[in-house]
């Protein structure tokens, strides 16, 4: 047992750190800003692509980095420390592995480079109004007519679909005995006639998610990934990948640093809030939990590097990771006291809005409200507990 990094690892960390410091566009800021353009969101992605670092988890033959698990961990940690905007996950984390695992050569050739370069923005057409936690209940229908699928249906919670060029989409091609059968995995061009994207504004005032309506959308049959009716295997494979990395340890560390900074600036009876017993206790509790999660993730990574894939145990990373994120944002909102109340980004009240309250209080309530989603999406935390109960504890 050993948690020390090798000299090679330490050198690698230096390399990553200086690359980020030298190349990360200063004007971007971090993902917390709610008003990013598509261009902003892709700027760092494109720089990483030029460097060859956009998809560390992919096999080298498809454009990955061939890094060790430890190197990937270090890369993530340094990225979080600098608060970089990560490459959009829909292509790199979700679709890419599906394509190089299940796609045919033609699909590999046209999908993967577009993901890597950032040319193609992908969105995920999974959830439907009647199929949330129970994904297999999906109803969006695709009927093969000659060499085209005609797709009709209604997707919801489609993140950043407003920017998307393409959507990977679960559709029902056959209504079989078992609901998991008869589902297929299609790649759909968002410019195809019949697609309408309707924004959903969330309680933090942001526009991240959308509804996508599909009306007689014609999709070439060659855009089917894997076999028709066998898409459920792909769907589950993708969800498994979604879970990894969701712990967000490095980003939570940074968020705690910021929280501490805020609590140092906020006053209670003339002294720093950070020095009060209540507040320092709460931060300490958070840090202990986060340290435990960090080592739990490291243990998972170590097992992975020895060839054991991330099993259902990794649901713990999702549950604990999101609980910690929610507690950090809640405590940050608490820290700013009365200045949690101003709500500026929601309504345009002119240019001087940044002047309300101390700068560090801006947007903290919005971030708190937005973060409530984390225990709902990606398989709600209740679903994750069901997975552990069934797959790990055998209940």
């Amino acid at each position: 047992m050993d948690v020390d990094f090798t000299p090679e690892d330490i050198a690698f960390r230096e390399e990553v750190r200086s690359f980020i410091e030298e190349n990360y566009p200063k004007h971007l800021g971090s993902l917390d800003r709610g008003d990013m353009t598509k261009e902003d969101l892709l700027a760092w992605h494109k720089i990483l692509h030029t460097k060859g670092w956009v998809a560390p988890s992919w096999p080298a033959e498809f454009g990955g980095t061939d890094w060790t698990v430890t190197q990937r961990y270090i890369f993530n940690e340094e990225s979080a420390r600098h608060g970089t905007i990560p490459p959009m996950p829909f292509g790199v984390q979700m679709l890419g592995p599906v394509i190089y695992t299940f796609g045919n050569q033609e699909q590999k050739d046209w999908v993967l480079p577009g993901i890597l370069s950032g040319k193609d923005w992908w969105c995920q057409g999974y959830s439907e109004p009647g199929a949330g936690s129970d994904l297999a209940a999906l109803k969006t229908k695709a009927v093969l007519e000659d060499d085209e699928y005609v797709v009709n249906g209604h997707k919801i919670w489609t993140t950043l679909a407003q920017h998307a060029d393409w959507m990977f989409c679960l559709v029902r091609t056959t209504s079989g005995e078992k609901r998991q059968d008869g589902i297929s995995f299609l790649l759909i061009d968002m410019k195809t006639p019949g697609i309408t994207v309707r924004p959903i504004i969330t309680i933090d005032g942001g526009h991240e998610v959308n509804e996508v309506f599909l009306e007689d959308v014609r999709v070439p049959a060659r855009n089917l990934v894997g076999e028709q009716d066998k898409g459920w295997t792909i769907a589950k494979f993708l969800l498994g990948n979604e879970r990894s990395g969701i712990a967000g340890v490095a980003r939570s560390k940074k968020a705690i640093d910021r929280l501490r900074e805020i609590a140092r600036g906020e006053l209670e009876n003339g002294g720093p809030l950070l020095s009060t017993a209540d507040f320092s206790r709460k931060i300490a509790e958070l840090e202990v939990d986060l340290t435990a999660l960090e080592y739990t993730e490291l243990r998972t990574l170590a097992a992975e590097s020895q060839g054991q894939g991330p099993g259902p145990e990794s649901s713990i990373l999702k549950i604990k990771g999101t609980e910690i994120q929610q507690r950090i944002t809640e405590l940050t909102m608490e820290a700013v006291g009365n200045y949690a109340a101003p709500w500026v980004p929601q309504l345009d009240v002119g240019d001087n809005y940044l002047a309300i309250g101390p700068e560090q209080s801006h947007g903290v309530s919005q971030t708190y409200f937005n973060t409530r989603k984390t225990s709902i999406y990606g398989g709600s935390n209740e679903i994750q507990r069901n997975i552990i109960a069934k797959m790990v504890l055998g209940l």
Partner: protein, 375 residues
């Protein structure tokens, strides 16, 4: 021991309830929130006509002589409707201060305008550096002859944009955070030297940052005196706490009912999600938080007229309960509604946001736990 409402109180509840459901459905409310003004002046006039604005004031002033229970009933029903009009700052906070501590002249010149719905008031008591400590006051009131000259900044003044009158806490003497030497002053918002920066709040209201630059008010504008200012302010805030506790239980009830209903009808895996035991027990916990909050709301409203120490302990305890329960109920209502709970379109998220702000308003759980322990 009696927890029932009188017949009059029940009539009052029914009246407010049907007014809100007839005139203030969720769409209407969101239109008001998104409007330029952010409140509906016509609704406010109707409040006046229904006598809601007269409820707590003495009959000689044209009021209805209601007590804390009447305010509680009204606030609970306004809470159910997520009503944003400034009943709390105008009637409960400022009206209450004038009613209990105003001089005869102050009452006569100000209460009729409040009762008639002609004036809107706001209580400017927070300061940027003060967090939740009411005595942490930098704003100064310098005596000059018979007048006072006010200088300073007041933070997050709820209802500020709509108000024409403010009650401002300012330091006449002593050091920052001293209990003594605090005065409460009636200030015309239009007076020379008063400037505001207005903005919307998380929970659909409006607030202002208020700056006072050499604002001169006459000595008659002071309510009470420099030795009683903080006591009066603390009392007013405790009345405010009792009122938003009532608001909160109205809102928790709405969320609990909506959540149970949603879980009964929303199907996943071929069954209503309300059939899952984990969600059932979650809703039971929400129910228990609500019931405990109701208990504390009744408690504090019945203890508002006790001596200052007992009142403070009651208010602190109630605020702790409501702060915790409101957060829990709000978070779980969103969680159980899934993605739908996260949308602006559903009222659930708006109740959640208001309940979140209720914890912060007048001091959060941490603040009132310390106050409770010290009381």
């Amino acid at each position: 021991m009696d927890f029932s409402c009188t017949e009059e109180q029940t009539l009052l509840r029914n009246m407010v309830q049907s007014f809100v459901s007839d005139n203030y459905d969720f769409d209407t409310r969101m239109k008001i929130v998104r409007s330029e003004d952010g409140m509906d002046r016509a609704i406010w006039q109707q409040f006046a006509e229904l006598g809601l604005l007269a409820a707590p004031f003495s009959e000689e002033m044209g009021g209805l002589d209601g007590g804390p229970v009447e305010t509680m009933v009204i606030m609970e029903e306004l809470g159910r409707g997520l009503v944003v009009e400034p009943y709390l700052p105008t009637i409960v906070l400022c009206g209450g201060i004038l009613n209990r501590h105003g001089s005869a002249a102050q009452k006569e010149s100000h209460l009729p305008g409040i009762i008639a719905g002609e004036n809107i008031w706001a209580l400017a008591f927070n300061e940027p550096q003060g967090r939740f400590n009411l005595a942490d006051i930098v704003t100064s009131a310098r005596a000059e002859g018979d007048s006072y000259v006010l200088n300073g900044a007041k933070a997050v003044v709820l209802g500020g944009p709509w108000a024409d009158k403010l009650i401002v806490s300012a330091r006449i003497s002593g050091n920052q955070r001293d209990r003594d030497g605090v005065g409460l002053f009636i200030v015309d918002k239009s007076a020379d030297g008063v400037s505001t920066q207005d903005y919307p709040t998380v929970d659909g209201g409006r607030a202002s940052e208020v700056t006072l630059e050499n604002v001169t008010v006459s000595g008659d504008a002071m309510i009470g005196d420099a030795s009683s200012g903080l006591d009066i302010l603390e009392e007013a805030v405790d009345y405010g706490i009792a009122a938003i506790c009532a608001e909160a239980i109205g809102q928790m009830k709405m969320l609990n009912d909506a959540t149970v209903e949603y879980c009964r009808t929303r199907k996943q895996f071929g069954v209503p999600i309300g059939s899952f035991q984990v969600l059932q027990h979650r809703m039971v916990d929400m129910f228990m938080e609500y019931e405990q909050s109701v208990s504390m709301t009744y408690m504090v409203n019945m203890k508002l007229d006790e001596d200052a120490a007992a009142r403070a302990k009651a208010a602190a305890g109630a605020k702790v309960q409501i702060g915790k329960s409101g957060r829990f109920v709000g978070q779980e209502a969103v969680q159980l509604h899934g993605g739908m709970g996260m949308t602006e379109e559903l009222n659930v998220g708006h109740f959640f946001k208001r309940l979140t702000m209720i914890d912060t308003q007048f001091g959060n759980v941490d603040h009132h736990l310390k106050r409770f322990a010290a009381a």
